[in-house]
Symmetry: C2
Amino acid sequence: MSEYTAPLRDMQFVVEELAGLDTVNQLPGYEEATADLVQAVFEEASKFASGVLGPLNRAGDSNGAKWKDTVVTTTPGWKPAYEQFVEGGWNALACPAEIGGQNLPRLVSALVEEMWNAANISFALCPMLTRGAIEAIELRGSEHLKETYLPKMVSGEWTGTMNLTEPQAGSDLAAVRTRAVPQGDGSYKIDGQKIFITYGEHDLTDNIIHLVLARTPTAPEGVKGISLFVVPKFMLNDDGSLGERNDVRCVSIEHKLGIHGSPTCVLAFGQNGGATGYLVGEENRGLEYMFIMMNAARYSVGIEGIGLSERAYQHALAYARDRVQGTEAGVKGSGKVAIIRHPDVRRMLMLMKSQTEAMRALAGVVAAAMDTARVSADAAQQAQAQAFVDIMIPIVKGWSTENSIDIASLGVQIHGGMGFIEETGAAQYLRDARITAIYEGTTGIQAADLIGRKMARDQGQAAKTVIASMRATAESLQGAELAAIRESLTAGIDAFDRCVQYVVTNYGADARSVSVGSVPLLKLFGIVAGGWQLARSAAIASQHIADGKGSDFYKTKIVTARFYADHVLAQAPGLAHTVIDGASGALALADDQF
Amino acid sequence: MSEYTAPLRDMQFVVEELAGLDTVNQLPGYEEATADLVQAVFEEASKFASGVLGPLNRAGDSNGAKWKDTVVTTTPGWKPAYEQFVEGGWNALACPAEIGGQNLPRLVSALVEEMWNAANISFALCPMLTRGAIEAIELRGSEHLKETYLPKMVSGEWTGTMNLTEPQAGSDLAAVRTRAVPQGDGSYKIDGQKIFITYGEHDLTDNIIHLVLARTPTAPEGVKGISLFVVPKFMLNDDGSLGERNDVRCVSIEHKLGIHGSPTCVLAFGQNGGATGYLVGEENRGLEYMFIMMNAARYSVGIEGIGLSERAYQHALAYARDRVQGTEAGVKGSGKVAIIRHPDVRRMLMLMKSQTEAMRALAGVVAAAMDTARVSADAAQQAQAQAFVDIMIPIVKGWSTENSIDIASLGVQIHGGMGFIEETGAAQYLRDARITAIYEGTTGIQAADLIGRKMARDQGQAAKTVIASMRATAESLQGAELAAIRESLTAGIDAFDRCVQYVVTNYGADARSVSVGSVPLLKLFGIVAGGWQLARSAAIASQHIADGKGSDFYKTKIVTARFYADHVLAQAPGLAHTVIDGASGALALADDQF
């Protein structure tokens, strides 16, 4: 069985040297987030992840959530672990102080979140969804809704869910049909069926607060007629105690490829007269509210990808060190060696390691920008940070999750035949990772968001600002040791630059053709942005070494950046070709010619 | 539930227009394999695949083989399907006439094999393993062994297995420890444990003939001390009837990521005094015999990848045509459309389709060369064909299987959230495909074979011959319509050519560095070879159209080749960079720096 150990040294590096904790903790409200405090938080989180969540991961897979007669029972061990999670105050880590949270910068909570996901993604999904629900109520809920629901959601005594999808409305929320009929007393009766509701029912807490998209009788068609409602599993009495059961029931859970520990529920609202719901904000603005939260949710799914990648890497590395098989290539008379000595195994490990570190670095830098965008007192700085966050969210989400699938698959490959045996555990990461590129918007949806809203709409301004930063990094890479990195990074930036021009020039006239290249462009942007962060890492490491403060960690950073330059960044020019020239072949067939 | 339909039109094209059936059926013994006969065989096979094997595929997954007290029970429906398979004569399709087979060219049986694997890979594995065992006995067994075992193995009344792997000896067969002690009567007592034995025990037939690698007491250490034995599950009486049970038992089966319908057995030999075995060929030459069969087995696993890719494509295509979601990009006022109208879905479908057709075309061309190498009366032609087969086997195996994982994963993605639900069936192809890049030699093993035995040893001669053929194809591409294909193919050939030079120049002095690029090189070779075959297809199609014999099929071939050129071939130069420059980053870390 694999043990998970949080990569604390790399997390410290990301927080302090790449993402700029010393700038973030100058922001109003984050003054207490000193390097010492952050390290203490990371160490405690690491203990909880390794000691409590990690050991439950396999059980969650092999003995997942069970459904019977509308009741969902989680994996044995889940409930006490959740109680410890709540007691430890972990649920409130990222929440603002004014609603009872610990108000740590997103930079910090994001890396803690990586630990939860690495240790046990199925478990981590529950507080992730609760956080989304908290944010919706916090941002647009009435004072009464906030007072009624937030304290217990922030503490974790109650959990939250997000009810968007219906059978006919997956990626297309305009097609939502669930109805909400006003009752004249300020409440609504909700009636409809929602699917794919993560932790829509469970036995971890005594209440669940559902956030539900639905249409009122007078609502216009399409996306402009969707409202957002709070629908508690149990109604509340005037004194705040639990009252009668609301009319929402879990009618089944899904049998899935992975994340078996996380119940994916079909929820029926209103089978007995209508579930009581309370409007959040104004009618017909539900989708707008969802979009406000979407950046946060998509970012979190990107973190899931990073956590799974780290876990898969650690698992494969342990096996590669332990498994003795064959002799060493090119070494005459070599005895049997551990497979980590084989060049191809080493290549696979380096692919896992370098991409995971690139994703973590990028996510950390984006988290710091989220903090600036949220609380900076400087409006210009705030706007600039928000523009960066907006364009990077589809990358953190789309690129990190697609990579996590490939990285987990490499982990299986390193195990050879044992990788295919479920008891080994390597296959679980692949099965778990597969959903991350689908939920909260598929990679295709992320890529459409990237080229449309984030790139074409502002005529490439945000992208060009990122390109300028990336070029500055490339130009800062001095010396023979960093020359190869500089060369690959520059070629990658040039490739990305060409694609941005192409999108800006052609999207308006021919969105259909440009859309063919949207996912290849998302991948290209991710590869180059990751290379940018690894190049920054190498430059910082090189400086430390020049200053006589070199350590194994810094030497490794340079090697890792070099590997990534030759094995990952090298794909960038080919992807640009696909983005720019790939439309004709993709669109030429009639539907019936496939 | 997905229905499988064999891609008969494309198979006909591969057989008749790309791989040259009219040349193959000039070879001695294959005269009866006319185009008409082949089409009739394909149509019958297609009916069996769609009507009998395909409908059992999901059941094999959800209700796989079960083990209890050394007995293995296959999925309900498996046994009658196997009986029909045997009655239909399908087991003997590829076997030579002199041992009771139908002696069809490998070109024909390979495409039939694709149908079995597409319909139901877990089922198809059983006859695949039998065929390997038949070949071992046929090639090196004594007349007595042949007379005793082959007739019923060829008919399919008995099945065969290959027992290579032991817990400490996976990819490294030099480490095999199973013992074989001569009994003085020509037989041996076999004692040891074998793992990962596909169909090592089952209820489909009343006997199973195991082929087992083991060491005699006087054998030298390492690969030169391994012998091959026949060990029947039931001993035979003098009249050929089944006698007493031999001392080989299935002590467990594996709980696997996929191919649940195929029992993967742990076999214990000699727990009660020793299993009786009979030497095949000479002592200590077992590994040599295995290598003779290995090309065939590896080729077959490549075919598994192609079958799974085709099935995943058909499943995703059906969903994309059926699923209505969202409006059309760039089309104002478009109503809701089937997702096949979305550019990114179309891109994914084209990736699945174009790569599957490229793999099928390449496998067909290699199969025709296998036929020439086997029976041509012209020794020079034979040697040339064998050299081509030898260098292409790691590509057909490694490239087709790695692709099948990505293609099945794209199939999941096209299904969105439904792809993650097991009942949809899309996830099964991903789980099933994952093993194909591992068994019969991992992709790393294939790549080591490619750069060492197949490329460095002959100083790149075989590779250069392939390059010359590919260049001739590129130069034959005339006209504006084929210009983009020509350009990408030429860039791909140039990239591959540079890599061959690099391997030939550096392998002798630094095998370790060159090995870092072995898998990227295998991938590059596969991509370019596939592009070569699609370019040939486009040229043939273009000629038909010029001749006024254009059809939808031929028009589609040109579009498909164009898509592949821009979306797949475009990766070639980046891979060459990785092959040539990728060693330093991969090898610089000490083991403990990971």
